[in-house]
């Protein structure tokens, strides 16, 4: 049986160059399907990664109850103090809580690529913000000074927006701000933000309400106690969320859309590719019906014929899948894309083609090949030997 299969398969594979045009239909069809699927999923993956890596299990964010995002939340100064003093919040050497009461404002800046304005988050942060978020570190310039209108800008924001280099002046609200530093933050959502001193930002925007408090907890397990403490406090109406959970919620809409796009478009393309594969394999079988019939007449088994058709379909789809995945990886991996993230502002993310994604895509390519090869294989096996011989 094995010998038979190898013999027929070898014969089939040797015939591929003669039917190059037809074979390309499988390869190209699957390659394009896989490339589209991988690149859209890479977008979803990158987006999720950017927002997910913004969170740490031992950090929590507190918003006013019922507000979905920082932008719609408001917290009084009094409330922020209560929150920062709650149990479970980690203290530094001086006994001060590692927490930052923050406000966010949305400002419109011109994009480098298109010249059109897009929203960017300006975040006013408290003095402990950088101990709270050790992942943030300056890559150029210096930290802003309190009480002076100075800003530091995230790396992705610098790349996306005009006039955000160190030394530039950015004007909003009858005031002018100077960019003094550029920071990195592990490629998370904060990298698309501008940051300044909370009190300076509050006064420039003539506000007296904060929007969120982010705290570092003693440990990830301290979260429930911290949450209970705040939600049972009669002076507060707040929502307490783990940071990761908050950012996952913020990215839900876009992730949903990207996944939908990937599976809807990818799914239909896969169906199309299956029909293409069916076509190719049927014509491969019918072109070789004489050979197959001859082999059957000599005494080769039906099983060997089925397997040989399968192997051919699989091989072609494997080639297609590899080309598609390779192209997606070469062209799109690491590309940056921006869209609306949380707070109605731009978030930049990198298309991430992971090995898992590549393997998954190639796996699906093989599934397409197998489905596309199944019926033609059965037909090849059922070919009535006598008729096929006579027809030729």
């Amino acid at each position: 049986m094995f010998k038979q299969t190898t013999a027929i398969t070898a014969m089939n594979l040797r015939a591929i160059p003669q039917r190059l045009g037809t074979s390309w239909v499988i390869v190209i069809g699957i390659a394009v399907t896989v490339a589209v699927l991988v690149s859209v999923l890479a977008m979803a993956q990158g987006f999720k990664k950017t927002l997910a890596s913004t969170g740490r299990p031992d950090r929590a964010i507190v918003l006013r109850g019922g507000s979905n995002a920082e932008l719609s939340s408001t917290l009084s100064r009094e409330n922020t103090l209560t929150i920062m003093d709650a149990t479970g919040v980690k203290k530094d050497a001086d006994g001060k809580p590692l927490a930052s009461a923050e406000m966010v404002a949305v400002v419109a800046l011109q994009q480098r690529k298109t010249g059109t304005a897009a929203n960017v988050t300006l975040r006013g942060v408290g003095p402990k913000a950088f101990e709270l978020r050790p992942e943030i570190h300056l890559v150029a310039g210096r930290m802003f000074q309190p009480a002076v209108r100075e800003l530091i800008v995230g790396k992705s924001a610098v790349a996306q927006f005009k006039g955000t280099e160190i030394g530039s002046r950015i004007a909003f609200r009858d005031s002018e701000w100077t960019v003094v530093g550029e920071f990195e933050s592990n490629g998370d959502a904060h990298e698309s933000e501008l940051m300044g001193d909370i009190e300076t930002v509050l006064s420039a925007f003539r506000r007296n309400l904060f929007q969120s408090v982010t705290v570092l907890l003693d440990s990830p397990e301290a979260f429930n106690a911290f949450k209970d403490k705040l939600t049972t406090d009669p002076t507060l109406t707040v929502d307490v969320k783990r940071e990761a959970e908050y950012y996952a919620e913020q990215s839900k809409q876009v992730s949903k859309l990207l996944n939908f796009l990937a599976y809807f478009v990818g799914g239909f393309m896969a169906i199309g590719a299956i029909f293409g594969a069916l076509n190719t394999m049927y014509s491969a079988v019918s072109a070789r019906s004489l050979e197959i019939a001859t082999l059957r007449a000599i005494g080769f088994g039906a099983g060997a014929v089925v397997v040989s058709v399968f192997v051919e379909a699989l091989l072609l789809s494997l080639i297609g899948g590899t080309i598609g995945a390779g192209v997606a990886w070469l062209v799109f991996n690491g590309n940056t894309v921006n869209t609306l993230g949380s707070n109605f502002t731009q978030v930049v993310f990198h298309l991430t083609v992971t090995p898992g994604l590549l393997l998954g895509a190639i796996f699906w390519a093989c599934v397409i090949g197998v489905v596309g090869g199944l019926f033609p294989a059965i037909r090849a096996a059922r070919l009535p030997v006598a008729t096929a011989l006579r027809a030729a």
Binding site: W24, V25, G65, G66, T116, F268, G272, L278, N279
Partner: protein
């Protein structure tokens, strides 16, 4: 037309192959219809934007509010007909999933600046006179089964009342329609006076102004005049036409156009191979038959036309099926994208693409049929 039976029979000469190829093309055009449909539905929103309306927002960002007091100043400018305003209420109904596009407005202003929103006169009067009154879009009313007389509680994610609650209750007093664009029937309007009195903070501020100009050709000058009014004040403004405003807003989401174009290029690249291969095979197999037609007196050009028509028949038939399927499936996208109907223009575009596809994939086989040497071909 007399050639149709011949074409049709030729097309189905190898049933399985034709069906598979047809399916591949149908799916490609289904995707074309859906993706291009979404793309042009977004563009249509931009195209539909009224030319004699301007949108005035804070120059810092759309999310910064403007003083209510600016309105009288704007309205006093020469060239301005009427001013309306709205504020983002950011509310949901019962569950955060049920987001409701809700805005506090001044009834008379809103419905005169937006004449495309059709509201019966008595309902407008009721809206004006009911403090907690609300007027909702027909589509929104259908979605939740709300009707006039219903009390509807909304939860605002932004606006609290002095008692620190965010639950607001309204009485539905009217249902508006927008016959020009049914996708714009999902807003929830309520009285600004009630909102401003009841909110805990931000009193006297509104989100944005919509400025109706008397003469559309004066839009640019009026926009400059508005922004000049508030230059160097704490609340500088940015005024643009409704169209520019929509465009800028869509750009923020990302370049939909580009992504759609990339995907479709990929799809059609693969499709060219699939269809081209079928046509090639079909002609290759039929060489003797084509030769017979030639002996019967079919001319070279006639053969070219015959094979090309076969390709056109296949592609256009499949494109029709695919576009029809897309048209049927389109409403399912509503939850993801908020677009309701596939623009008919997409069907026209689709057919043009199908003809192009038919030509590109059919021309080589057709040429081969045209050049076919009868004596050679008959010899086999």
């Amino acid at each position: 037309m007399k050639y149709f039976p011949l074409l049709w029979a030729t097309l189905w000469r190898k049933k399985a192959r034709t069906i598979f190829t047809l399916c591949v093309i149908v799916i490609a055009f289904l995707l074309f219809g859906m993706l291009q449909g979404v793309n042009s539905a977004f563009n249509q929103a931009v195209e539909r934007a009224n030319v004699n309306r301007l949108v005035t927002t804070s120059s810092i960002a759309l999310t910064e509010n403007l003083p209510y007091a600016d309105m009288t100043q704007i309205e006093a400018l020469p060239g301005v007909a009427r001013v309306s305003h709205a504020t983002w209420f950011g509310a949901y109904y019962q569950d955060p999933k049920n987001f409701v596009f809700s805005f506090p407005v001044e009834p008379e202003r809103e419905f005169s600046v937006f004449p495309e929103l059709k509201l019966p006169k008595e309902q407008l009067d009721a809206f004006i006179h009911t403090r907690t009154g609300a007027v909702i879009g027909a589509d929104l009313a259908r979605k939740y089964g709300w009707k006039i007389g219903d009390r509807v509680p909304l939860h605002s994610t932004i606006w609290t009342k002095p008692d620190n609650t965010s639950d607001w209750t309204f009485d539905v007093v009217g249902i508006y329609e927008n016959p020009d664009d049914r996708s714009q029937e999902s807003a929830f309007f309520f009285n600004y006076s009630y909102f401003d009195e009841a909110r805990a903070f931000g009193k006297g501020k509104i989100g944005w102004y919509t400025v109706q100009v008397k003469d559309p050709t004066q839009s640019a000058q009026v926009a400059i005049a508005v922004d000049k009014l508030f230059a160097n004040s704490p609340d500088e403004t940015k005024t643009e036409t409704e169209k520019e405003f929509q465009q800028a807003f869509l750009k923020q989401i990302g370049d939909i156009n580009l992504i759609v174009t990339y995907i479709l290029i990929g799809v059609f690249f693969a499709l060219l191979f699939a269809t081209g291969n079928t046509m090639m095979q079909s002609v290759r197999e039929r060489i003797p038959e084509l030769a017979v037609l030639k002996t019967l007196g079919f001319s070279d050009t006639g053969m070219l036309a015959l094979v090309l028509s076969e390709s056109i028949l296949l592609c256009v038939l499949a494109a029709f099926l695919g576009l029809f399927a897309a048209w049927m499936m389109f409403p399912a996208l509503k939850d993801y994208l908020g677009v309701v109907k596939m623009p008919t223009q997409v069907i026209v575009e689709g057919i043009v693409v199908a003809l192009l596809l038919a030509f590109i994939t059919g021309i080589f086989p057709a040429w081969r049929a045209k050049r076919l040497d009868i004596v050679e071909a008959l010899r086999g």
